[in-house]
């Protein structure tokens, strides 16, 4: 008996008990649909987070001065251990083969004033490289120039939030002069809005000015330290080398002896991504486990119904054996029946899973990412479930003694 014929016998047996077949399928349908929906939602969440993190900047490595405090004395002060703009310039100068851009970041929280309005916010002293590093775009006017940067010009660009609060939506800020603390700065450009970042911080609530100007006019400190520096690498492949070389350069500039620890820390987006990835990954694993359990239950449902089917059709089995069906034929018949049943369930499950994931995505506004390999995998897994749970009943049927089957009442 060839495969097509056994398949026909199996398909007919399934079609004969429609209600029962549908109920049996539901177990598999729910299981497969759950697996696919959970994976689509999980993958979607992960992809969204990764995208948001990469919106922080291109191939970004952040270098922070060491924040460690030893006892009551805040460490590093007066020892030349804080980072300076000179460090940032050196990184750019010395490691040109690895880095695309370097921007020191000098923060000053100041009161901003324009006409009768005022706003309290951050002024970021940055270099012109920040445009490329931070994926910023200028909506109106222009960014400040390197020339302005080198001569400490009092110019700035404003973010959308600052613009809204200081100027209102109607007034074009470009060309206006605002007061930052007690200094006047000329607004030369308006940054294109970026929205909130991963942590909900409004990235548009910012004024950017040359770091040289911020250091000179707004930072009232004897030490010209910077808060951090942002470095964008030519390629993420060089991440480890770049971090090592930046560290070596900074250690050299800070005159650190071998036994001394770094007085700075480097962070990169891959670390943040890994952390977030492990959280969403764990979530996906847990939810997939729950989905897999429902699939297991569905499989047991198939096994149960196949056992019933074998008992119910025991005279048919006996007759088939009497006219020449080998144990292998009987095994194949019932195994195929289980596989067909679970594969049909799998197909509907895939459809329901995709539909369900899309619906949840639309309803909750979650990003959904349906991956072809996992979908195909889930589909084939449903066939496997049928094979696995269908084997025992089919095997039992094939071991039956023909005469016992024929005599069964």
């Amino acid at each position: 008996m060839n495969f097509a014929m056994i398949f026909r016998v199996a398909a007919r047996a399934i079609a004969r008990n429609k209600t029962r077949s549908i109920l049996t399928c539901i177990g598999i349908i729910v299981g497969i649909a759950a697996v696919i929906a959970v994976m689509a939602i999980g993958q979607g969440a992960q992809t969204m987070m990764v995208r948001e993190i990469s919106s922080m900047g291109n191939n970004l490595v952040m270098v922070f001065p060491e924040r460690r405090v030893q006892g009551p004395v805040s460490g590093g002060m007066g020892q030349g251990q804080t980072m300076t703009a000179g460090d940032a310039e050196a990184v750019k100068r010395e490691l040109g083969h690895l880095v695309q851009g370097v921007s020191p970041s000098v923060r000053a929280t100041v009161q901003m004033m324009y006409a009768s309005k005022n706003w309290s916010g951050n002024v970021q002293g940055v270099s012109t490289d920040i445009l490329q590093i931070g994926n910023w775009a200028v909506a109106e006017g222009r960014f400040f120039t390197e020339d302005e940067q080198s001569r400490c010009a009092r110019v700035c660009v404003v973010g959308a939030t600052v613009r809204a609060n200081l100027f209102g939506e109607d007034e074009n800020p470009v060309g206006r002069t605002i007061r930052l603390k007690n200094m006047t700065f000329k607004v030369v450009g308006l940054l294109a809005p970026k929205g909130a970042n991963n942590w909900g911080q409004d990235q548009d609530d910012v004024v950017m000015a040359p770091y040289t100007s911020v250091e000179r006019y707004l930072q009232r400190s004897k030490f010209r330290n910077i808060n951090m520096m942002n470095v964008s690498l030519v390629s993420m492949d060089d991440l480890e080398i770049a971090k090592r070389e930046i560290a070596a350069l900074l250690r050299q500039r800070h005159h650190l002896a071998d036994y001394q620890d770094d007085d700075f820390e480097t962070r990169d987006t891959t670390e943040i991504m890994n952390t977030i990835g492990s959280v969403t990954g764990l979530m996906t694993v847990l939810l997939t486990a729950v989905a897999a359990i429902s699939l297991l239950v569905g499989g047991i449902g198939i096994m149960n119904i196949m056992l019933v089917s074998v008992t119910e059709r025991i005279r048919e089995i006996g007759l088939r054996m009497a006219i020449g069906a080998s144990p292998g034929n009987i095994l194949a018949q019932f195994l195929l029946e289980a596989v067909v049943l679970s594969t049909i369930g799998g197909a509907f499950g895939v459809a329901l899973g995709i539909g369900g994931a899309e619906f949840i995505g639309w309803w909750k506004g979650w990003p959904i990412l349906i991956q072809i390999p996992s979908t195909v995998g889930a589909f084939f897994f449903s066939s496997f479930v049928g094979m696995f749970f269908g084997f025992y009943p089919a095997y039992r049927a094939s071991r039956l003694n023909p005469i016992d089957c024929l005599r069964y009442e």
Partner: protein, 248 residues
């Protein structure tokens, strides 16, 4: 000369409730090609057990069974299935047709397991056989749409599908009315005259009268094995006397 069917010193022992029951108690029997044998006896005499073993549906506890020159007593389930498929045809008391399956598909079934014919040839042969048993035009009827006698005809056609040398019938008329019984037995006589070997189990004298040889059993033993002389059939009365004498 070797016989088509030859069993010797065969035992079938069931252990029911700890006490062994000898369903077959050292039976020997030989059947030659073309014979029409009726195995008779009361219920519990071991006649059905013997037929099941002859039909390779059951295996003996002890003893040898040579079918068509080869030993079949100790074969695997798969090998026995092959033997049943190619060499033996079965007709059961309860017809045992596949429900909700057309007559023609029921008849085709043995060849599906044998895989000898192509789909078209198989259909043609099944049609022929249904015609031969007098069911032309009812090929697509399901068992539920056929009378008992018609169902048994389908079963006979099915038994003939793979051209087996031997046909086994277990009380083939047990579920039929008198008229259908006569029709079925006429069909068996016809098949017998065409050279097919038939071994039939029955406890009815009038049915047994169609056979040419009568084996009477009791308590797992053959009490009488009597062939008709020449081509003359025994009458029902002769069969009844034979059985009475054997069991006396």
């Amino acid at each position: 000369m070797s016989h088509l069917i030859e069993i010797s010193d065969m035992y079938k022992i069931y252990a029911i409730g700890g006490e062994p029951v000898h369903a077959l108690d050292g039976v020997s029997l030989a059947v030659d090609e073309g014979e029409f044998v009726a195995i008779m006896g009361a219920s519990g005499s071991g006649k059905s057990t013997m037929l099941n073993i002859l039909g390779c549906l059951d295996v003996p506890t002890k003893g040898s069974y040579r079918l068509d020159g080869t030993e079949v007593a100790a074969r695997s389930a798969a090998e026995l299935a092959k033997i049943r498929n190619r060499k033996l045809g079965f007709v059961f008391q309860s017809f045992n047709l596949l429900a909700r399956t057309s007559a023609i598909e029921n008849v085709e079934l043995p060849d599906l397991y044998m895989g000898r014919l192509r789909a078209k040839e198989r259909r043609v042969r099944a049609m022929e056989l249904l015609g031969r048993v007098g069911l032309k035009g009812r090929e697509s009827h399901t068992p539920a749409q056929l009378s008992g006698g018609q169902q048994q005809r389908v079963a006979i056609a099915r038994a003939l599908m793979n051209n087996p040398p031997v046909l086994f019938a277990d009380e083939p008329t047990g579920n039929l009315d008198t008229k259908s019984s006569v029709e079925i037995m006429e069909l068996f006589s016809e098949l017998s005259s065409e050279g097919i070997t038939i071994v039939m189990v029955t406890h009815e004298d009038d049915i047994a009268a169609y056979a040419k040889r009568h084996v009477v059993m009791r308590d797992g033993r053959i009490m009488r094995d009597d062939a008709s002389c020449g081509s003359a059939r025994k009458t029902v009365g002769e069969v009844a006397r034979l059985v009475r004498e054997a069991l006396a």
